[in-house]
Symmetry: C2
Subunit: 351 residues, 2 copies
DNA sequence: CTGTTAGCGCTTTCAT
DNA sequence: ATGAAAGCGCTAACAG
């Protein structure tokens, strides 16, 4: 709390390998072998101890720069994420950061402005400049048929979207998510359904919409229409208005994003439409705040952290020279029901 | 969309300075001077053009590793952020990332688990290993009187909290924020106030609570009590329950965080307490979702992006050798009123 | 105006 | 089992 004295001019002299060498009277190469526990060479136990002791005593930390320069490997990767307020991306990001930390690898987070998306190739220089070993591209947009010049020629994966070429896609099973929604709607006896989702340009939206339309065409007893709107509270509100104005109102709605759900619930409340009596709601995003909307909603719980972790794994595989491969993140997917609790009993989601 | 052919084994041969030198028949040092536009040396215009042309043609990108090793400067910084779901941190982070990008500097984002906070000194190795030039520590906890061993001896700033020593703090004016709240409460004629905020261990909470208590003691016509609860929906809900159980209910509540507000609003709705008739609400966090709570609330708009940007600036100043200095982010602070709009008129916050 | 040279801190053959 | 030496790609002091 700034109560202490000012810090003395903070100049830490970094300890180098040569400092440890001098302290032990050994050569740098020997010290290096010990500290890297090179398995191919043998060192005397006594020497080992001496080196380790000196390194600890001097607080030696290897210079990542020099090591990376020599090994032609930075041990870092870039994570390109959209600058969105949607909380699910934070979960994906955390999953990726944690897995990267586990695998001893630093992460450079690059935020992509949502209003002016740049092509993935724009991030290639980070690899060419040896800042990172590869790219995890988590921007949501579906690629237009990429011009060859726009192809990524460096190790990379696309996260939660598919890229222009096979072997670089790490995605979740959106079709199964739609299936869980439809199953819950059937359980509730809903037959006139709407999928309210984001812009078609978003790859996950595209896949969910396709699955929903396929179900509609399959000709069961459920009708499914698809409505696209901006993935914001505003978008959800406006879409709600439009849906309420229609002659045939849906009795079940799947909502692609949390902000849209917030806006939609506000619109329904404002119009006096009762949830769940008049309409049943299921969100494709999850968040603790779902228990506090004032109305019961369900959500499809997606393996978001696993998605981030799988992206890191797939990229590091490529960096290690393995051929690229597509990954379908299998993690657990559940339907979770969120109940607004009565007072004196705090609400807890139950599965 | 993975419709294209598989990518050929992606091996880009990186162009080095020596490649450009060979292509032009010049020496690497000359090429280096041209590309860095070294002001102290002069080069023939024709040579300049030749080098620039060759560099562009070969797609030369300088190796950041080698450059950083030579210059003893990585051009990167670490941003330590709490792993919270609170959306305001995202705004701070974006502010920092954007400013860093503007100043040509890469950012390594390190996420701090909220349940097991590590001391700031735990991140010092990132500097000692030359991964970054300095630290922006944005974890929320107030430092205990730090043991000298825990002091940071590398360039660093604390963001949105104060550290153990002066000269490293970049914070906003929380006292003024509390002032805006009290002023709005007076405008609404509220006299029995509660500040519902997070744990006291959080420095921003500490400062707001102190300002609120000072106002209470100042002996005007407003009473202010302070209630601490976890900064979650759950915490807001539980605190709401407690407040409703009291003999004298507050008629105005300031809420420290968005999740708490969500929980509190749910509790009030559930108990049939009318907003704003029975109680007026003001949030210290801002978010578009505030317009969709179903009840009118106000919020204190804080200069969050500026906070992040100022943190980066202050750190880079230190890296450039300037003495450390505390920063109070001055950016605009407003009281914003969020109205749930009637249907057919989408809600927009108005100032 | 341009080339030569040394060296940032580390790893890694190759000698001894 | 340890040491000597080369070199990763770049910059900067010094020559010419």
């Amino acid at each position: 709390m700034s109560t202490g004295p000012p810090l003395a001019a903070a100049c830490v002299r970094r300890t180098r390998l040569v400092d440890v060498a001098e302290a032990t009277g050994l050569d740098v190469s020997t010290v290096s072998r010990v500290l890297n526990s090179d398995p191919r060479q043998s060192v005397r136990a006594e020497t080992r101890e001496r080196v380790l002791a000196a390194a600890r005593r001097l607080g030696y930390r290897p210079n990542a720069l020099a090591r990376a320069l020599k090994q032609a490997r930075t041990g870092a990767l870039a994570l390109v994420v959209p600058m969105t307020r949607n909380p699910v991306w934070a979960v994906v990001e955390r999953g990726a950061l944690d897995r990267a930390a586990t695998r001893g690898c630093a992460v450079l987070v690059v935020s992509q402005p949502i209003d002016q998306p740049r092509p993935a190739a724009a991030y290639q220089p980070m690899v060419l400049e040896s800042r990172v070993d590869g790219l995890v591209v988590a921007t949501a947009l579906r690629p237009r048929r990429a011009a060859p010049a726009a192809d990524l020629l460096v190790p990379h994966v696309y996260l939660n979207r598919r890229g222009p070429h096979p072997g670089h896609d790490v995605v979740m099973d959106e079709e199964a998510a739609v299936g869980l929604w439809l199953q819950e709607m059937r359980r509730q006896g809903r037959r006139d359904l709407v999928l309210l989702d984001g812009p078609v340009e978003v790859d996950t939206v595209h896949r969910r919409a396709r699955a929903a339309r396929a179900h509609d065409r399959a000709g069961g007893d459920q009708r499914v229409r698809v409505v696209h709107a901006p993935a914001t509270e505003q978008g959800g509100w406006a879409a709600g208005e439009r849906l309420l104005g229609r002659s045939r109102r849906p009795d079940g709605i799947g909502v692609g994003s949390l902000p849209q759900l917030t806006g939609l619930v506000a619109a329904l409340r404002s119009a006096g439409v009762a949830v769940p009596n008049d309409v049943g709601l299921v969100s494709f995003d999850e968040d603790p705040s779902l228990s506090y909307l004032g109305v019961p909603v369900a959500s499809v719980s997606m393996p978001l952290a696993e998605l981030g972790a799988a992206g890191v794994d797939a990229l590091l595989d490529q960096v290690d020279g393995h051929g690229p491969r597509d990954v379908l993140v299998a993690g657990p997917m559940d339907l979770v029901r969120h109940q607004p609790a009565p007072l004196a009993r705090c609400p807890v989601p139950r599965r």
